[in-house]
């Protein structure tokens, strides 16, 4: 009986989400609202994927934003400099990003803890340096302008106001299904085991480095696609995607939303993107607000906004068996 209710609840929420996804682009017709919606959905993809490696796997991975940025640059360079037809550049971007992610994480994960954070941070800076040094191809600090529109049989997505909105939604939904599936699979459990008790997990035969490298590679796929969409949608690829402030914004989405939940960062991405945009007139002060929000969340709500959800007793009972992220440790104990 109880199980039926759980299933009904799940089906109901899926229906609601799909309905909202279908209707939202038709309701939010203003140019500003549409733009904000597309950006927040793309950020939601990036943040929720980052959560797989940072929250579930507990890897100090700060290269995630670089995957997004490299994705956007591969799309721009392939189409503009080498005339690669659109859509093919998406495949190219995934291949390049997965290769870079795999290579760098295989090297970085020879290290432990803080060193992983430092090397992956350095990778992001390396990208900026490469863009500045290879001006002929990358456009340097200005970036590349004029990335062609995605088109389906002559239909250009940019010509129709809803098209990129729907495209971004499709990417978010597919990516979320994939991430949830991964996180709850045998593979995901092995990541959590490595995060919480590495020595034991390794002793039980889980190959630590391989699982973590695979997690980073998996999470880089939707992220690179989000980067491509970003470039095609905005028609530019700019070095700003590697900036410290975007890294922090995305990081705050993961943390404020709730590390180790996948859904939390999605909600936070939408709230924070809309929120920081809504407070536009505050200028730099809104970044200070976000900073305070990060610290307060870590201090008083280590499980993030999503953990408020689990304070509902019925849900908490149902979820008692799940293992929260280390950042949520205090909330659960």
């Amino acid at each position: 009986m109880k199980k039926d209710w759980t299933r009904i609840g799940r089906i109901a929420s899926i229906v609601v989400v799909l309905a909202v996804a279908a209707v939202a682009p038709l309701v939010l017709t203003g140019g500003v609202a549409q733009n904000l919606a597309v950006l927040s959905i793309l950020y939601a993809v990036v943040a929720s994927n980052w959560d797989l490696t940072l929250g579930y796997a507990g890897i100090f991975n700060f290269a995630h934003v670089a995957f997004f940025g490299i994705g956007s640059y591969v799309a721009a360079i392939a189409t503009l400099q080498f005339g690669v037809p659109v859509w093919l550049d998406l495949i190219l971007a995934v291949v390049v990003v997965v290769a870079v992610g795999g290579l760098v994480s295989a090297l970085a994960l020879r290290l432990r803890g803080i060193y992983v954070a430092l090397v992956t941070f350095a990778l992001t800076q390396l990208c900026v340096a490469l863009i500045n040094s290879a001006k002929d191809i990358t456009g340097g600090p200005v970036g590349l302008i004029g990335v062609p529109d995605l088109e389906i049989r002559g239909f250009e997505l940019g010509s129709e106001p809803h098209a990129y909105f729907y495209a971004a939604e499709v990417l978010l939904i597919l990516s979320t299904i994939a991430m949830r599936w991964l996180a709850t699979s045998h593979f995901g459990l092995s990541l959590v085991a490595l995060r919480d008790y590495e020595a034991y997990a390794v002793a039980r035969g889980i190959p630590a480095r391989r699982q973590r490298v695979l997690a980073i590679m998996a999470s880089s796929i939707p992220t690179s696609l989000a980067g491509c969409l970003y470039a095609h949608y905005l028609i530019v690829a700019s070095p700003d995607v590697f900036s410290f402030s975007l890294t922090t914004l995305l990081l705050s989405m993961v943390l404020v939303g709730g590390a180790g939940t996948i859904y939390g960062p999605i909600v936070a991405a939408i709230v924070l993107t809309v929120g920081t945009e809504g407070l536009h007139q505050l200028g730099n002060i809104r970044y200070m607000i976000v900073a305070v929000l990060i610290v307060l969340t870590l201090r008083f709500l280590p499980g993030g906004l999503w953990s408020l959800w689990t304070l509902v007793p019925a849900i908490r009972r149902r979820r008692a068996t799940r293992v929260p992220s280390p950042l949520a440790e205090e909330a659960s104990s």
Binding site: R110, R112, I114, A117, L123, S133, N284, V292, I294, V295
Partner: protein, 287 residues
């Protein structure tokens, strides 16, 4: 050639001051302070505001002393707000990365709000040029080259001779034993943060005399310090200092022979090379 070496020594000296502060905190608290670059920037702004006629106009001497005193307080505040609540928790390492990143965003934007984004200049501590063996050196560069090792030696003496300095190392090595010696760990943490913040402030003031000061002036030195501490190994002061000078030199030679834009690439390649050979850094200890 002389100019390249001078430039390498100057960078190395500045990186050593920055990275030594990071290494000190890592050694005794086991956390990494991502706000260190912003502390450097804030130190430069404090010195500028106190000394410049556009600020209080009290002159450079008072500016430097005042800025360093301010750094002591700022180190305390950073520790109390961004580090202390998480010390001893299982997730301290990751949580403090996040909180100090947040702290650096906060401070950087605060400075931007107060002083605006336009470049400012601090007076040089010493002006003019000096010629040594056919190479003409800016006096301020020479000051950096000499002052940094003096400060680092002073720090080494502090850590090996002074009661508080010894206690900082003891807390880093064995917290229980340190407590049983009667060392108040909390006070030592505060002392460590303040010393580290002062080192950042000194680097900021020196850097501010060489270049302009701006709200993002701390970012590049911090990123170089990342490379330095991975290269030399965190928590080992000699390793950190050696790493800093090595990185400074590599950077100087690479800028000259390969080009300034490719230098970060060279540094990253060097870094990856070191990691492949020695995952704990050149001088680091395996944990």
């Amino acid at each position: 050639m002389g100019a390249i070496i001078v430039s390498g020594l100057v960078s190395g000296a500045l990186y050593a001051l920055v990275a030594a502060g990071l290494s000190l905190i890592w050694g005794s608290l086991g956390v990494f302070n991502f706000a260190h670059g912003v502390l450097l920037m804030t130190g430069a702004y404090a010195a500028w505001w106190i000394s410049s006629p556009d600020g209080l106009g009290l002159g450079l001497g008072i500016g430097i002393v005042g800025a360093l005193a301010f750094m002591v307080v700022l180190g305390l505040v950073v520790y109390l707000l961004l580090v202390r609540p998480w010390i001893g928790k299982a997730n301290a390492e990751l949580a403090v990365i996040m909180t100090t990143i947040a702290g650096s965003i906060f401070l950087q934007n605060l400075i931007l709000e107060i002083f605006g984004g336009r470049y400012k200049t601090i007076d040089q501590v010493v002006t003019g040029t000096v010629a040594i063996g056919g190479t003409t050196i800016q006096a301020q560069n020479l000051l950096v080259i000499i002052l940094a090792p003096v400060l680092l030696i002073a720090m080494w003496l502090f850590l090996t001779r002074n009661r508080t300095g010894l206690a900082i190392r003891a807390v880093a090595q064995n917290q229980d034993a340190a407590q049983l010696f009667g060392i108040g760990v909390e006070r030592i943490y505060i002392a460590t943060f303040s010393v580290s913040a002062v080192l950042a402030g000194v680097a900021g003031i020196l850097l501010g005399g060489l270049f302009n000061i701006s709200p993002d002036m701390g970012t590049d030195p911090l990123l170089r310090a990342f490379v330095v501490v991975v290269f030399g190994g965190l928590g080992s002061l000699p390793g950190t200092i050696l790493g800093a000078y090595a990185i400074g030199m590599i950077e100087a030679f690479s800028s000259y022979y390969i080009g300034i834009y490719w230098t970060p690439v060279v540094l990253f390649v060097v870094l990856i090379g070191v990691l492949v050979v020695r995952p704990t850094g050149l001088m680091g200890r395996p944990t």
